[in-house]
Symmetry: C2
Subunit: 335 residues, 2 copies
């Protein structure tokens, strides 16, 4: 049985286990500092498919198959797949899993999808509703640019606060038993809208939500930043990360050296020319499923708070002059 | 604790209660046979807002507030809102709930969203992760036409199998205690793609998924159609409903007079000129939250299987020549 703690946090009794993870990324990500941790680097941005959208589905499906393999489970052992992506109508995920022959729950949390899927997935296991689940998310630079900004062929310029959408997919397999780090508690986040209107500055739109969820999680659990080896946000980038540190200080919390951001870890920002860092559902999904799980395996991490961060905008609403709400869900993972 | 039954079904131990529901619909829905059951009929398709998209968010927010009122709960009692819609990046829901000050889990199940939200929501309560949750979905004829087909100003013709997207929103409040029908078991569905390519025939794309989930649910539970007063699909329309009956017969199941479809109930098809019936997330959400809950209150229903049905397409993938996958999640509700 799960137990509510404080206002928003849920403590899991069975502590579902992260059995395995897999990540497949694109060429640019494969040229970054985390390259050696990814299961596969795909040089062709079409991944052998005819369209960017089909390529994204392909990465997602392949990461799922790889994670299954590594977990020692078969597709038929998985009771539910929880997944989502950034494409309109979440088709990267729907098309990736249409042949999986497995119950599917589609999620939309923008770039918070990976921690949202792990949050719901771990409760499903804790409750007995599932024995094994797969949690997955993806994004693709080319499909995202076409959809959210301009087709690549336009060659439009990027602003200094712009982030680069990751091409990549990550999947983790959670289970009621087995070996691996455990999910011990989760904190679902609220939608926070601080009035940011610049669709080229997602970090600014998402950091207030990240701050809100982190502060709430620490308050609910009575813990401090020192209780964590790492407080890992999804894709705030350098601008959003600086904002997060400032916002947490206003809440009397100093993140010290404990904070890092998947969007800044996956690229060498200066060398790779990606402005403020990376973004996209696939960013935190790939970094968590590959690099972070490996750090746990090596015993270098004991307890982290993983907070994927999402900007809940759409081009239509932004063109209508609307502000951009953000959201962030936290998952506590322990060795 | 939840218990797995058969291959896909989950039996809920605590049997979460549907405390209340509310539905707000547009003018055309307010002219249909279920008019008197809806909490409010909004004549203005802008609902006092400046855009169709903002109007959809408004309907959703207002239905949530109304459902809260009827449940006797305050917003602060709700531990999580589970919601989604058809708009790109699910902004109807995100913008509806950005001021709710309540943890939010965004879903994407296309028109299956209402039963997906009730499925996850009831497991959250059963597990102890939440005491009270809100499950909500919406759609809007004008925002959907603009996004999926053509802007209304084009005056484009509709095909005979086309369905009419409902303008409406429905919310139910689920709780661990209180008065109302109970959710006793749920069956999450698989993605089923039978190769339908006609984006104007959603009923055909969704009916194989509805069939798959219904057959699986009956197999898992060892029940027959006779064990239900009503087997209620979301928005198959007349064409999709006929297909469903044919598909279930091939699986040796006769739905007899037990099947009905929210998309056919909400309109007087012949008089209101809506071709094959209605569709959209808001269709099953509004019919369930208003009419169905009232039938339970009157003692006219004892046990139903509610299966909202979703077509997981996007205009981009359809234009690329892709087929349309469908999905359907089942929720068993009992007096």
């Amino acid at each position: 049985m799960a137990k509510r703690l404080g206002q928003q946090t849920i403590v899991l009794d069975k502590q579902p286990i992260v059995l395995a993870g897999a990540a497949i990324v694109g060429r640019k990500e494969g040229d970054g500092p985390l390259a050696k941790y990814f299961d596969e680097v795909v040089d062709d941005e079409y991944a052998g498919e005819k369209t960017f959208e089909a390529a994204e589905s392909r990465l997602m499906r392949d990461a799922f198959i790889k994670a299954l393999e590594k977990s020692g489970k078969a597709a038929k052992d998985i009771n539910v797949i929880l997944s989502g992506d950034l494409l309109n109508q979440c088709t990267a995920a729907s098309y990736a899993f249409r042949d999986s022959d497995t119950p599917y729950l589609g999620l939309f949390g923008a770039c918070s999808t990976m921690s949202e899927s792990m949050l719901i997935g771990s409760i499903l296991i804790d409750s007995g509703a599932a024995d094994y689940v797969a949690c997955a998310a993806s994004s693709h630079f080319c499909s995202a640019e076409r959809q959210f900004r301009f087709p690549l062929e336009y060659g439009s310029q990027r602003t200094p606060t712009a982030q680069w959408t990751v091409t990549g997919a990550g999947t983790v397999i959670l289970g009621k038993d087995g070996q691996g780090p455990r999910i011990t508690c989760v904190t679902p986040g609220k939608i926070i809208d601080e009035g940011i209107k610049d669709a080229n500055n997602m970090g600014a739109a998402m950091s207030p939500a990240a701050c809100d969820t982190i502060v709430q999680h620490l308050q609910d659990t009575g813990r401090s930043v020192d209780d964590y080896d790492l407080i890992l946000t999804g894709d705030l980038g350098s601008f959003g990360s600086a904002m997060l540190r400032e916002l947490t200080v206003r809440n009397h919390i100093d993140l010290k050296s404990k904070h890092n951001d998947c969007g800044m870890m996956i690229f060498d920002l200066a060398r790779q020319g990606v402005d403020c860092g990376e973004s996209g559902c696939g960013c935190s999904a790939a970094v968590f499923s590959a690099y972070i799980l490996e750090q746990f395996r090596l015993g270098l991490l004991k307890r982290i708070l993983f907070i994927a961060t999402g900007a809940l905008l759409s081009p239509t609403r932004t063109q209508q002059g609307e502000t951009i709400p953000g959201i962030a869900h936290a998952v506590c993972v322990e060795a």
